[in-house]
């Protein structure tokens, strides 16, 4: 086992941990300010944003003049109403499949009282000074932007009403707006007709404009189809990998397969002679997995020429400081450690667990194990970069367009004002593209050539160089009393570390997480095993793995107590209250009841069928799920149906929210069923989808989604819908065949689909 601690790994992992913290933080982003820009800064903004895209962008009356006085109305950077009544809304954040390019404009349109069919949507330029947060992670897009976007729309509505009121010489308070129209009695004025008058008015303070009540919503909560659907189904060039520029070449970049290896030498001369190859060179990099690891770049005329040349590349790697991680060794060591009731560090010690276990009517002990997994977005990592005129310009499928400015500048040794980023559509994120390593690589290659380059990773590289969801081991003992009540819970969590002190990114389990604060006796401790393999946030970081452990073990205890799982779970939730960390036990109980009711909990099922229940709170979302499976005598699993019940506050786009839940069920099942990343001697053993078998259409269940729409602040659902999937299915497997799943993936326990 490789127990050495690497300094660069440490700082990188610290950055990644902060990233998860930042993505999950409930702090609302900087309050929206009406951006009043003078002529110079306006021109600077338009320059930054790439000419035509925001030409005509108006920031108050000064800027209307700057925009050429076309009579359009644009009180802030988010929207523009032309005289013909067309409404252009800029979606500020990255579209990664979570539906934000439709949801963000809907929020603005709701407060603007726009007619949705009048709205056209474009991707906003990357400029966090104007737009605020321009990242997609932690399911924070909706909650962090909710107020900002509502106010952006409400400012415009208030000004349009003021313009109409002035024209009709009536009090603004007597006018109302709907369907892109201001109304007073029998008089109506279309937004387009009011645009130039509204543009001449002072922009009100966004903090003071009146927002609608949920019951006044006309748009939100209904079913909308994605604004880019037509472009997607007709094959338009939307994605990072689709970008082309005049004179552009294609680059591949070979890193050392084991993290931390350096280039000693490579057959560069031979590579340069290959057909279609333009250049080949070594990049030293800065040794940060999140930025630029050492490697060899090959620049070629076509992707195929570059890929073929890579196959012929021979690099002599200096692996003296490279990862030697072995999943086999780590697992063996963890199994030994699991025999100890407590780990080296105690994180929570509530009540007296030892006493509780001693005095229990029944105790249950179990070791739960889950593997490393990869993000594997279907679009492999790629980025187009062009170093020209003193700047480096990027076309990047990133989840963190805002942070990427600083990251790329730091990695390339330039100042942030010399970095210009265009955000493309992203072919899947799942947390992988919170890191911008591929972007830094593209930038470093671009700095060495005189033309634009598109860096394209192969699938093999994408699987080899991920920031994996860490595996883990939980040694658990729990107890119930004679009345069948849960009395004690002890968890020794064996997890990983990069710095020898704190768990690796995404590999921790905080003390305040369920069921820690709901039990009279609870002990959580951990032991850390050093690794070098990069880990990072994966769809619902930590919850994506630990929820399976907790919700499965709760079921084990319910069974030991001879109790109905639903009743047992509700009893553990207890009285409605809000626990530290945000779990609202009342909202939890409501979704648990709803999921059970919709699934027909307790009804008689066909032989070989079973139903399983699980609840998890994460990313401010309360989600319960009930799965129905059947298992045949050959341990073949059929997942028939999953009922999702969620409370994520008000829903913005019902189609989008449903789609996220449907996708989360597939992702959860796919991952628990057969996905596993292993490493030996620092090398990732899985190379392509034949060894990383994502679920296919034939195995997918019927998914039903039900929301409790509350007045609680809204949150995204891309992440919170995932954690309950695996435990609901595992509990259903137990109900169907009596086999308790304690090791993932399920193929390890002999199951197939």
């Amino acid at each position: 086992m490789n127990a050495r601690v690497n300094d660069t790994d440490m700082t990188v992992d610290e950055t990644l941990r902060q990233l998860i913290g930042e993505m999950e933080s409930s702090a609302v982003s900087a309050p929206f300010r009406a951006v009043k820009l003078d002529r110079r800064s306006f021109l600077k903004l338009t320059g930054l944003a790439g000419g035509g895209l925001v030409l005509g962008f108006a920031m108050g009356s000064d800027a209307v003049a700057a925009a050429g006085g076309d009579g359009a109305f644009a009180p802030n950077a988010f929207l523009r109403i032309a005289r013909d009544g067309s409404i252009l809304i800029y979606s500020k954040g990255p579209e990664i499949g979570q539906g934000i390019k439709t949801a963000f404009p809907l929020i603005i349109a709701e407060e603007l009282d726009a007619k949705w069919s009048d709205v056209k949507v474009e991707q906003a330029p990357v400029n966090p000074a104007v737009f605020g947060r321009q990242s997609a992670g932690g399911s924070r897009s909706i909650p962090d932007s909710w107020d900002q976007l509502r106010r952006a729309g409400a400012v415009a509505r208030q000004m349009l009403i003021a313009a109409a009121a002035a024209q009709w010489k009536v009090p603004a308070g007597e006018c109302s707006a709907s369907d892109s129209m201001v109304t007073h009695g029998k008089r109506k004025a279309a937004y387009g007709a009011l645009a130039s008058k509204a543009a001449a008015l002072p922009v009100p303070d966004a903090a003071t404009v009146k927002l609608k009540d949920r019951k006044e919503y006309r748009l939100l909560g209904k079913w909308y189809t994605g604004v880019d659907n037509r472009a997607v189904v007709t094959g338009k060039p939307l994605f990072g990998i689709d970008q082309t520029l005049p004179g552009m070449k294609i680059a591949v970049y070979q890193r050392c397969p084991a993290t931390g290896g350096k280039v000693r030498s490579a057959n560069l001369d031979e590579i340069r002679q290959l057909p279609g190859v333009r250049d080949a060179f070594v990049i030293e990099g800065n040794g940060k997995t999140t930025e630029i690891m050492p490697g060899v770049a090959i620049v070629a005329d076509t992707t195929w020429a570059a890929f073929e040349a890579r196959k012929k590349l021979r690099v002599d790697w200096d692996e003296s400081a490279a990862s030697k991680d072995s999943w086999k060794d780590l697992s063996k060591r963890a199994a030994e450690l699991a025999k100890l009731p407590t780990g080296t560090t105690t994180l929570a010690n509530i009540g007296n667990v030892d006493e509780a276990l001693k005095g229990a009517a029944k105790t249950v002990s179990a070791l739960y194990t889950y593997p490393f997994v990869s993000h594997a977005p279907l679009e492999p990592q790629n980025c187009t970069a062009w170093s020209h005129d003193g700047i480096v310009e990027f076309w990047s499928p990133t989840q963190t367009a805002d942070r990427a400015i600083e990251t790329a500048a730091g990695a390339l040794g330039i100042t942030p004002d010399k970095v210009k980023i265009h955000q493309t559509r992203v072919g899947g994120g799942f947390g992988r593209r919170l890191m911008n390593d591929y972007m830094c690589e593209a930038g470093a290659i671009a700095q060495k050539v005189a033309h634009p380059v598109k860096l394209v990773w192969t699938r093999e590289q994408d699987l080899a160089h991920d920031f994996f969801r860490a595996g883990g081991f939980h040694s658990l003992t729990g107890s119930v009393d004679a009345a069948g009540k849960l009395t004690g819970w002890r968890n020794h969590f064996i997890t990983f570390t990069h710095d020898g002190k704190a768990p690796s990114s995404g590999a921790d389990w905080p003390a305040n997480q369920f069921p820690g604060l709901s039990l009279p006796n609870y002990q959580l401790s951990h032991t850390l095993l050093p690794i070098r393999t990069p880990t990072g946030p994966w769809r619902a970081p930590r919850s994506c793995s630990v929820a399976w452990v907790i919700q499965s073990f709760l079921h084990e205890l319910a069974v030991a107590a001879g109790r109905d799982h639903r009743d047992f779970l509700l009893e553990v939730m207890g009285e409605p209250r809000i626990l530290d960390g945000g779990l609202n036990t009342g909202r939890a109980a409501d979704v648990i009841k709803l999921a059970c009711e919709k699934a027909g909990w307790g009804k008689t099922l066909p032989k070989g069928h079973g139903m399983g229940l699980a609840f998890h709170f994460s990313h401010a979302g309360h989600i319960a799920e009930v799965a129905e499976v059947s298992v045949d005598e050959n341990k073949r699993i059929r997942l028939h149906r999953v009922v999702v019940a969620g409370d994520i506050g008000p829903i913005v786009n019902m189609s989008g929210a449903n789609n996220q839940c449907e996708g989360a069920v597939v992702d959860g099942f796919s991952t628990m069923m057969g996905l596993e990343i292993t490493m030996e001697n620092g090398l990732i053993e899985q190379t392509n989808f034949h060894q990383y078998p994502l679920l296919r259409i034939g195995s997918h269940p019927k998914v039903e989604v039900h929301f409790i729409q509350s007045d609680n602040p809204p949150t995204g659902v891309g992440e919170p819908a995932l954690p309950p999937v695996a435990p609901a299915i595992a509990n259903a497997i137990f109900a169907a065949c009596g086999h308790r799943v304690r090791t993932l993936p399920l193929t390890k326990e002999g199951f197939t689909v």
């Binding site: 997607v232 007709t234 094959g235 992707t303 992203v426 989808f689 296919r696 259409i697 997918h700």
Partner: protein, 159 residues
């Protein structure tokens, strides 16, 4: 390098490429048809699916020299005209199938081959025909529903 003649989306085109180049890269890099996607390069994910003489094939592992003279249809050529979409494309929009959208060109091409040979597919037919297409985002439920509804549209048109 060789000058290769192809028939793509009803048009004759020429590409100067190594004959061993997979069709995928000829489409994307030489012809600028980037709707066909790269996902795995090993015929495992279906992102690169195109039709050759009406049959779905994986363009990432099909050398371009093997498809000269045959009719190649890509996602850019699925719609009968710029104004009129294929019923599958319309159904995909109406059912709001895409999440990230990256797999969807491949899904649509496989689905179009299915409907061409089987106008009223069952769920099992769909599962069999679409088994080669991975959707990492998990849009399978909607893919199925959209195929059924496109099949209904086509049946109504014939009636």
């Amino acid at each position: 390098m060789a000058s290769i003649q192809l028939r793509v989306n009803g048009k004759s085109v020429t590409a100067d490429v190594d004959p061993a180049t997979p069709l995928l890269w000829v489409l994307r890099d030489s012809l600028g048809l980037v709707g066909t996607k790269f996902g795995c390069g090993m015929a495992l994910c279906g992102a690169c699916t195109v039709l050759v003489d009406g049959k779905p094939i994986r363009a990432c592992t099909t050398p371009v020299s093997g498809v000269t003279g045959q009719a190649i249809t890509t996602i850019e050529g699925l719609a009968p005209s710029t104004e009129k979409l294929h019923p599958l494309q319309q159904a995909w929009i109406d059912h709001d199938v895409p999440q990230c959208g990256y797999c969807q060109a491949g899904q649509l091409m496989s689905a179009s081959a299915l409907l061409a040979s089987n106008p009223k597919p069952t769920d099992a037919d769909i599962d069999a025909a679409m088994a080669g297409n991975i959707c990492r985002c998990g849009t399978y439920q909607r893919v199925r529903a959209a195929i059924h509804s496109a099949a209904d549209t086509l049946a109504r048109r014939k009636a």
